[in-house]
Symmetry: C2
Subunit: 394 residues, 2 copies
């Protein structure tokens, strides 16, 4: 049988990250290529206790179908938290639960984008978002973002692409770059999008993981015109495997997204929505997040210290104030391909920058490092081997 796949599948290759994951079955490889939270940040004992309580008091409801919008007490708790802690959410907004932040991006693309529509993105950006746009027939249009996106460049892209439906941004601790967008840039981009009547998708999976500097207000907190879809997740603060995220957006948009969500998975796992709600209301979520920040402050500093000590000076890298990633860039004239291969030969896995390009065929001088998963010893040994790989490639 010859299968005839939909057009949407044409531009979609298995992600480079997925392929690298597969090579990681070799336990002697040090992986800086993941995006996983550190497993020691999962409050296993508390979640186990909460789970036992739910089975005892509410087991049948926890294992039964629920409504597509999400478990109502969790929606209420999240709505309050977003309001009190981040000053976001107006009367015209609604909050829905999704099966991880990825689903929020995918649903937004589905309800807004026709075949051939454009989504303006920071270039490089999160590969899962790029594929969400592609599987909905939309074309990612990149705005160069190394060192920070420039509002004028974004506006030029919007003008050049009247078929653009959405601007996709990761303002905090960007994946893959680790950078944070200053408030002036956020405000300028908001004004541009408002003027052009274009939706902003603000993806904020790492926002709570700040370990240096001061919080910057979200773009959503500036949203007086109902143009911002805000998306976040429990993946990096409680558990990634449970797949619980949320979207806060104008109700006219969430209503459509809920209909599509019902089609995709009916609703998010009921039991773990209850777990999240109980953790938020019965335990010290903010205290737990403080502990995670301390851990990542330590790990990021260790990786940066190692890079400072052994990496050739021609290679530059970002110094993140939060999140999970450091972005390294080779000097002019080099692409990442050689060093990625040389690192793997030395048993260190990093993600080539090409994986995050809007144009998958374009080369990249950069590669991404993750510091949340490796142990301290692996960070020390791995950065040394990586620096050797760089030296061999220069």
């Amino acid at each position: 049988m010859e299968y005839s796949f939909s057009e949407k599948m044409r531009n979609l290759k298995p992600s480079a990250i997925r392929e690298i994951f597969k090579s990681l079955s070799d336990p002697t490889i040090i992986s800086f290529s993941g995006g996983n939270p550190a497993p020691e940040t999962f409050p296993i004992a508390e979640i186990s206790k909460i789970s036992a309580d739910i089975y005892a008091s509410d087991g049948a409801a926890a294992l039964q179908y629920n409504i597509s919008e999400g478990y109502p007490p969790l929606r209420a708790a999240l709505t309050s938290r977003m309001h009190d802690k981040f000053s976001i959410g107006s009367d015209g907004d609604d909050l829905i639960v999704v099966s991880g932040g990825a689903q929020g991006i995918e649903l937004a693309a589905k309800v807004l984008c026709n075949e051939g529509d454009a989504v303006i993105c920071e270039d490089p950006t999160f590969i899962g978002a790029l594929n969400a746009f592609r599987t909905n027939g939309a074309v990612p249009v990149g705005v160069p973002a190394a060192g920070g996106i420039r509002p004028e460049a974004l506006e030029a892209a919007i003008k050049a692409h009247p078929e653009a439906k959405m601007v996709y941004l990761i303002p905090n601790f960007h994946n893959p770059m680790g950078t944070t967008m200053p408030l002036e840039t956020r405000a300028a981009i908001y004004d541009i999008c408002k003027r052009h009547g274009i939706i902003i998708f603000e993806d904020n999976p790492y926002g709570e993981l700040r370990f240096a500097g001061e919080d910057v207000p979200t773009i959503k907190s500036l949203d007086r015109d109902d143009i911002v879809i805000y998306c976040s997740t429990f993946s990096k603060i409680l558990s990634a495997g449970m797949r619980v995220g949320y979207v806060l957006a104008p109700a006219a948009l969430t209503q459509k997204m809920v209909v599509c969500k019902q089609v995709e998975d009916v609703h998010t796992n009921t039991f773990f929505q209850m777990v999240c709600h109980r953790y938020m209301t019965e335990y010290d979520l903010d205290g737990h997040i403080r502990d995670i920040r301390a851990l990542y402050r330590h790990k990021s500093k260790l990786m940066l210290d190692c890079l400072d000590a052994s990496m050739p000076k021609e290679v530059t890298y970002t110094r993140p104030d939060g999140g999970l990633f450091i972005w390294c860039t080779m000097p002019d004239g080099y692409t990442c391909d050689g060093v990625v291969k040389a690192a793997l030969d030395r048993k260190v896995a990093v993600v080539p920058g090409t994986a995050f390009n809007c144009d998958e065929t374009a080369p990249s001088p950069s590669f991404r490092l993750n510091y949340s998963m490796p142990s301290d010893e692996q960070i020390e040994r791995g950065v040394k081997a990586l620096s050797d790989a760089v030296k061999a490639s220069l």
Copy 2:
């Protein structure tokens, strides 16, 4: 802000079932409108015990990201079970875990259908499938199926719609009709689809819930030509709220589906994939299913006895051998609208047949009854009130 939604959203209304669910917040209403499994079929004590074991022995992995294909031990256990119990799965097939059967349908539509492609369906059929096709730009084309679909009618539809990419079927205990497709029909449809080079999506969420008659081989068990996508779920045998289903299909198709699944939710809830695996390998799943069958045998018989006793003879209804639903049809000249309203006035909720029509604007003489959720007392009282509503409508 005026939002401009994608074309795919145009033909999509919130499901009639969803809307009826909302009216069910009134606790005095007897609902025959659900599709939920009976909560007493959830093995809460066993799942609670398994959960405690997982947290104790494997907590970090259970709360961490996993691969999009699904938790490998669960995939292996399901592959064995499908082979040993249902004689399905060949060397060219692969089994992937999805977030409920609904996601399996949606992913198949996404990888196969372009804007304007047709999916041939039994008419009426599962509303979630219809919406999955619509949100992927495909058009459901109905083949009349009251009393069973005729292979010649299916072939005529395929010939009339060269843009058809897939035939969607629920051969066992059909939703909404409760009917089961005979083996001759399955074989004839398989031959037709093979001849026309068209994929069959065999949706089998209720297949294990047979409480009368003999099992009929699945269409997938006839698949020597790699044209059948088989989809089932744990929703009706362990827990609906955990959202764990599976797809067994030619590997060339599951590979594409996995890439799209990664975009939609990265992977299915890790913890509950482990729960399913442990339940399958450490507990008596077949014994548990026998208990569920006994319960539904009792409940369906009670509802049929009540219908036989009080329903006017002009109204016909199916006598299912399994599953969750009975399909009632008004005599010639009547649509379901009047009786659905009259029933709701008498505090009984049923689902109008129009909700399951491929053409949403077409009238229907039928309505769907569910017997898994109401108590025995509610079945007795509800059928009496429903019969009164029918009498008032005739």
